[in-house]
Amino acid sequence: MRYLPLSDSDRSEMLRVIGAGSIDDLFRDVPQELRLNGPIERLPMHASEMAVERHMTALSRKNMVAGEVPFFLGCGAYRHHVPASVDHIIQRGEFLTSYTPYQPEIAQGTLQMLFEFQTQVARLFGCEVANASMYDGSTAMWEAIVMAHRITRKEKTVISSGVHPHYVSVATTMAKFTEDVLETAEPELSAETDEERLIGRIDGETSAVVVQYPDILGRIVDLTPIAEAAHAAGALLIAVVTEPVALGLIKSPGEMGADIVVGEGQSIGVGLQFGGPYVGLFACREKHVRQMPGRLAGETVDAEGKRGFVLTLSTREQHIRREKATSNICTSSVLCALAFTAHLTLLGEKGLRQLASLNHARACETAERLAAIPGVSLVNDSFFNEFTLKLPVEARPAVHSMVEKGVLGGVSLGRLYPGVDALENGLVVAVTETATDEDIAALEAALKRVVQ
């Protein structure tokens, strides 16, 4: 076995040192009737690297690869070009095969990287502080809701109809068990967002208002009036960002008054990966930091006075506080945070703005062309790199028909909101810098055919 260094003679010698007659003697606490007598059934014996690679490669070929076809899916996961150096950096063994940095003297690499990550996330979101990552955007949103609950000591949360339905589903699942009250709604296929509904729902019982920015249909909502209404009622505004590249071009949620900003960091550095692992982003005001979930890297000095970094404020965390912790989260998503921070460092402000501009320009052009197809109309007044079309036919079969033409043409709202008739003609199309002219032409041609 290539992964096991002990030889049979090592094993014999070690058993002798231990004073055990056989390996079974070491398992004597396991009652005999509970031990398996031989290798587990069904599972084949060990396999060569070549054989495993062959099997796994065959499985991988059964998937349609985004980069090999005209590709326009978004809705919480975006395909951007990731520089080759990012993958090189995250494969450095000292990052890849290290543990949570509990021994800071020999984990300064991870800790400094996380401190830089926290700073980048805070600046991007327009917040004072950010943590060292969460599992993903959807779980980060739930953690934000319960954090707001802890701060305001109120239980009602009003969730915008523009929030990703899977995120809402995670929150409603969790709320069943915590007795938080969530007010949710489905979006309308309209340029108008539900800002007025949200503001109308805020009352003295409201802990938080949750708004996605840009929202699930790609619309860009002005958060300022919602923040003002929330604050006037003693509630917090939670903003959810599923496409952080947008913030290269549009105002940050923090500068519009959001108190907690969470997001999905996948679109910077991480890649699609069929939904995971991704990286949850979490930022807030400094005054709320002690209610924050997750790990935090902080600056300090060592015994010689040199600057260094440690995990800090861990008295919020489960390994110290146990049942009184702010969250049960332990392992988070540090390697994905490294991919995020390395990609953002390579971009810098200049590159991020260029990338965002390129995305927006491509999306504008594509929207214009697709909306010119007879029967197809553009729902959005505003968008970044993702917009919603209203088709003259049901969008879900249209997506499947486009697949037959070799085009991954978007996400149908029927997939995200099954059974909601008013949304079934909606198609969400994301256009990033990876879409070529040929890709856009292929989408246009495929869509023309399916709506005829």
């Binding site: 260094p5 231990i18 070491l26 396991v30 587990i40 059934e41 069904r42 599972l43 396999a47 690297e49 690679e53 796994m56 499985l59 991988s60 998937n63 690869v65 899916l73 919480g76 520089p83 150096s85 950096i89 000292e94 990052f95 543990y99 800071p104 020999i106 300064q108 690499g109 400094q112 950010a130 990552s133 599992y135 995670v170 699942t173 069943k176 860009i220 071009l249 549009i250 999905e264 699609l272 069929f274 939904g275 692992p277 990286v279 902080g298 300090t300 489960q318 390994h319 110290i320 049960n328 989260i329 332990c330 392992t331 998503s333 971009l347 200049k350 590159g351 260029q354 320009a361 504008c364």
Partner: protein, 543 residues
Amino acid sequence: MTVNPSGWRPTTPANEQGEARTVTGNRALMLEEPLLFEIGSTEQTGVDFECSPAQATAQGAATAAPSGAPRPRPWPGNKLGNLARTHPIDLPGLSEPEAVRHYTRLSRQNYAIDLGLFPLGSCTMKHNPRLNEKIARLPGFADVHPLQPQETIQGALQVINELAFWLLDLTGMYGIAMSPKAGAHGELCGLLCIRAALEARGDKREVVLVPESAHGTNPATAAFAGYRVENIPANPAGRVDLDALKARLGPDVAAVMITNPNTCGLFEPDMKAISDAVHGAGAFVYCDGANFNAIVGKVRPGDLGIDAMHINLHKTFSTPHGGGGPGSGPVVLSEALSPYGPLPFAAKMPDGSYKLVEEESAGDEHPKAFGRMVAFHGQMGMFTRALAYILSHGADGLKQVAEDSVLNANYILRSLEDVLDAPFVKSGPCMHEAIFSDKGFADGISTIDLAKALIDEGFHPMTMYFPLVVHGAMLVEPTETESKASLDQFIMAIRSIAERAKAGDQSLKAAPVHAPRRRLDETLAARKPVLTWRDPEPARAAE
């Protein structure tokens, strides 16, 4: 898994022993690296985009873009509403050579499995096979969108289904939830299944019992799931006190969370009796599977009467820990709990195709699902690695994994028991981790000092001060991927340090002296938290 309750504060060492200082602060291969914010610039970038139309025209290169690359064209006017950004973000960038050097230098300040023994108890820091990295990066896995139509993701669903099948085979359980993102998330999934099952029978129970020796995530998860937590004591042999547990069971107890093998590195021989008692009281048994490495391929948790157990793919199945994640925490479930498992999941159809069961179709196929835990399908990148790991080892290899991990731990236990107090050594062999206490250390010397001295010897310290039931605990988990030579060197180092600790060698208090940093002031960090970089004030004033 390490805390420092000793209240230790660093002081500048009095004696530098004449170490030559360098002008740069560098020490040969150990290179100091400034923060990104001190070396980057908002005007610098390490990414090139296609030329803007103006640049292209100026250079007469309008048609020079390679075929298929996005050709720039005049902007059609922005559609950003009135929300275009007006303030700079202040994100410094680096060119590619600078960025690669920045992160490479930082990486060299980290300890890692690739460098040496990483004996963190309960963390299972084993070798991460590089084949698995290659597999996870195959475009058919890495470049697939989670919302692609099902006919385009058959391979991805098959991976999930195959991995689920082998995890069920290895655990002898009935059903599985693949989507939880890490161990603690899996615990939450398991407890929510339990809660849903109890509520389905109209049984409102409020208490979850957790042994004192449990991981902190156990009580935190129970609280997060809306339960009140009560501790159950350990007996002097380091096991759950069965009588105390039985005495506490009652109609208000929803579940008992047990770790087996437990955090003292011992198998709970009464596990079946514990399960029977818990079931007899109408409650469920949750097992923390963090320590599954000791028994994989040897014992099936399903045979122990367990109702739910998470499996840390980033422990037993070697997906890289990455400095703190991503993890992956699939949860295996008993027949009683399986109907309540979350959505979505991948089902194999009679025709051999795979189907993603989501909210839409769940009504018919999985009507009792308690809900959804994550936006998409879980940690696909970890599933591919874990499946490759399982297939590489096979039935014989996984059994050997458990045996070698237990052999390595017992070798350490027996090789150190004469110099370190091993509180449970009289109870017999340990499983895959060996536990020691600080009993016998001279006054003023504690576990943290031994741990920090280990750093100077080139090892990552063990888990310390956990579990809480052992004073000054040192929990050593070598894993099966360490050679005998590696263990022997580690043993030699600990023996030497333990002797110094018992002799009261005060120089231990200064350790580490050879690491990139000396001991860091954690109290200062927590008292005045500095969590983000802020440009020094004079620089701001000068702008």
